[in-house]
Point group: C2
Chain length 480, copies 2
């Protein structure tokens, strides 16, 4: 008797072998065929019962959602749906699932809306779709670590709670242990943060970049992969208040090297999941195709999920300067015919998702890296070009999703950095340590950020970002 | 000309090969020998300058901390300290380091206290000790992922911001976007959290276990690896307010399986770093040995760092019930002679670090797994034994450090769980979703938690936990 996971049994050729397997009932039909799932794979294991010789009371307890233990023999299956099946010799109910209660949950065997699944996020991992997404997410995570470790990058855990609010990437959440009802106050009526846990105001980080830069200036090449936060009231299918971000940072690397790294990285992780999550991705591709059929034609994807993944793998990312892109967009049909929601009129305009997608999907028909953006629309730490008006920034644009990576060569010149900080009213006092990295052996260095959930969305074809993270945090929602 | 990292060059046999390498000057002596480091390895690369033919102004700028670019030829070294060296043909200063400013920093070439290093946490990664610790930390992280992925566990990112405060593992930090100076209030004067970002009170998580359990009940076997938080005012060398935790959770697994998993896991990750961080660990072992010499004899370690690591690898973890352990401790010499700070008098006592270390270091002389603890000193979710007074908990105890892992088989019986929650005044309403996992196909399941920084401390021999995380968060300290 071999105790095994369903993923192994489905691959097994050891016919007549006795197996012991545990899992949850996904369906039970004709009082005979149990579809059993244990999370190790998308596919269920068919377990066939000799119902004539099975106790009737036991049969009644084989309900959808129940946890059972099955012992039996591996047989070739007569059915067309599966290659092998287990002929059950012994069955035990480990945990019941009362159909009268199950019917109010998403475990009940009918189609549930994604919204309903979100309301029961603790159970949705037992559905095919969500199980597949979570397995892909896990494998993608590992591919991220594997890629950087193979290249001898050092993983760095930058702080989650930060005393700095200078990163300027958006609204922050306050972290405090003060009694909000009765906080200690200074004489002028302001909150006395000296009495807070950390002795000052603290927030949840929006990015680990600045700390990663400090580490790159000693360890050479590092990456972060951790949670980041935005207290923005954006109730969209693209925003989360809590999400995971990957931020590599490399000393002695310029913007070209940065683009090379980002392209190699994305291709590596996508290849990895295509090799290791074949079944899950095929399922998700079918799912997306059938969802698409229900949509008006204009909203359907041009490419299937697997086509989109191969589109990224098979193309060299086209490198185009912002200035070139603006020319292309200004002269494009949708701009002239005023089909864009935001008409591109002049150099300096911030690009919207519609423009990014036009460049990728219509004009270049390949993933695009835009670089050398106007300084005015980018962050203070990006390196100023000789033209004094553009910075060495780069964004990677993908089909369907628009921007997936944002990065830059960093401003390594102390005086230039100080000037920019002053112009933007960013306190030198607060970022003293960041400035130190420019004082002691400064060097050209670059890095980028990739929102992990965007990558999971792209890979799985899920349209709502809330469906690619276990327990999404959004305005008015921190359930579970 | 090959552009290379120092780690590669030091391994190279390609004598006369031209190399291009960039890094930071660690020392410069006799106007001739540069010790160059780029973070890829502990060791420096010796770069030899022909100072007679080098511009004097350039020589003056080769200072400790400066970033330089070196081109030159690989030669066998005459010195006894290194096998190879670079005969410099071209040298460029990329970023200066003014000695007049460097001397106020920890970059200056003298011994600095660990406390001083912490105050300059943005620079300490450029020291040998801290560079070694961070490389080991990175490799340990990867080993964690590799172990679980090879066993087909799914990585789960449980939420950082949580609406629950029922986990009961300690004081929590509040997360809010309310204006603390003027928060919205209800008629009774209490804070109106409906107007907060999430529409209710939210905190930083103390553990992802409960959510991981829900996921294990669908995906079978999962693990978390993410930041957790404690707002406890513990200013010790063992506590951080923000630290990383690893929490595997396995369906259909009992306490014995849980112990097997934990032992296999720890041995795997230690073996991995011993293979991949040999130099760094040898350096840290020497460092610990010389630190030890400065201590009074009683405080010195019994074992060297590498002996301690091998002690864990070479021994089967001894499994001992709490009841047995209490008997051993009651009858032990230090207990009878009242050498323990806390004398063990009767069954039910909570064990202190001194007792745990006695069991490991003196009595069993092997790592120890204690199991079946009194229910009264353990958390509500642990499975009650038939004796009604102990629970299926287990702690793994290590030399020097005491408890390194805490885990349990979880209470899978809905009614028993409800009773325990009621007794401890834990709201069923709040944990409705957790109870659901016991309603729909409940099953025996187990898991454990391991504080990652404790593991890094054990592996590197660092005595203060603040020295094994990039930017430590502790009471009154959230700098950087």
């Amino acid at each position: 008797m071999i105790q095994a996971k369903i993923a192994e049994i489905l691959e097994s050729d050891q016919f007549l072998q006795e197996y012991h397997v545990k899992g949850w009932v996904r369906s039970f039909r004709s009082n005979r065929f149990i579809a059993l799932n244990d999370g190790s794979t998308l596919k269920n294991l068919q377990c066939v019962i000799d119902f004539e010789n099975t106790d009737e009371e036991l049969l009644k307890r084989i309900n959808v959602g129940a946890a059972i233990s099955v012992k039996g023999t591996l047989k070739e299956s007569m059915g067309s749906q599966q290659r092998v099946e287990i002929e059950v010799t012994e069955l035990e109910i480990l945990g019941d699932a009362n159909p009268e209660e199950v019917k109010f949950t998403i475990l009940s065997p009918k189609k549930h809306s994604m919204e309903k699944l979100r309301e029961q996020a603790h159970l949705r991992v037992r559905t095919n779709t969500f199980g597949a997404v979570m397995r892909v997410r896990s494998k993608l995570s590992f591919a991220v670590h594997k890629f950087f470790q193979e290249k001898n990058f050092h993983y760095v855990n930058t702080p989650i709670i930060t005393g700095s609010d200078a990163e300027g990437a958006g609204e922050m959440f306050r972290v405090t242990s003060l009694d909000l009802k009765n906080p200690p106050k200074n004489e002028d009526g302001s909150i006395n943060y000296k009495e807070d846990f950390f002795g000052k105001e603290t927030n949840l980080t929006v990015s680990g970049q600045l700390e990663a830069e400090a580490f790159a200036m000693g360890l050479g090449q590092v990456y972060t992969f951790g949670p980041t936060f935005r207290a923005e009231n954006s109730n969209t299918s693209r925003h989360l208040a809590e999400f995971w971000m990957i931020e590599p940072e490399v000393a002695f690397c310029d913007l070209d090297g940065n683009m090379d790294l980002a392209e190699e990285f994305i291709k590596y992780v996508l290849k990895y999941v295509m090799r290791h999550c074949k079944e899950d991705l095929e399922f998700l591709a079918e799912r997306q195709a059938s969802e698409d059929k229900l949509k008006p034609k204009a909203e359907r994807s041009d490419m299937s999920l697997l086509e989109k993944l191969n589109f990224v793998l098979d193309n060299n990312f086209k490198r185009v300067s912002y200035t070139e892109a603006i020319e292309i967009l200004k002269n494009s049909k949708p701009n002239k015919k005023k089909k864009f929601n935001y008409i591109i009129e002049e150099w300096g305009a911030d690009l919207q998702s519609e423009h990014e997608r036009y460049l990728v999907e219509k004009h270049f028909k390949s993933p695009v890296i835009l670089f050398d953006y106007p300084a005015s629309i980018k962050a203070f730490y990006m390196r100023l070009n000789e033209d004094q008006k553009t910075v060495r920034a780069m964004d990677i644009l993908f089909p369907g999703i628009g921007e997936i990576v944002g990065g830059s060569q960093r401003e390594e010149r102390l005086e230039v950095l100080k000037e920019k900080m002053e112009a933007l009213d960013i306190s030198e006092e607060e970022l003293w340590w960041y400035l130190d990295t420019r004082k002691f052996g400064t060097c050209v260095h670059s890095g980028f950020g990739l929102g992990f959930e965007r990558l999971v969305q792209f890979t799985t074809g899920m349209t709502n970002i809330r469906d690619v993270i276990p327990f999404p945090r959004t305005p008015q929602n921190a359930e579970f």
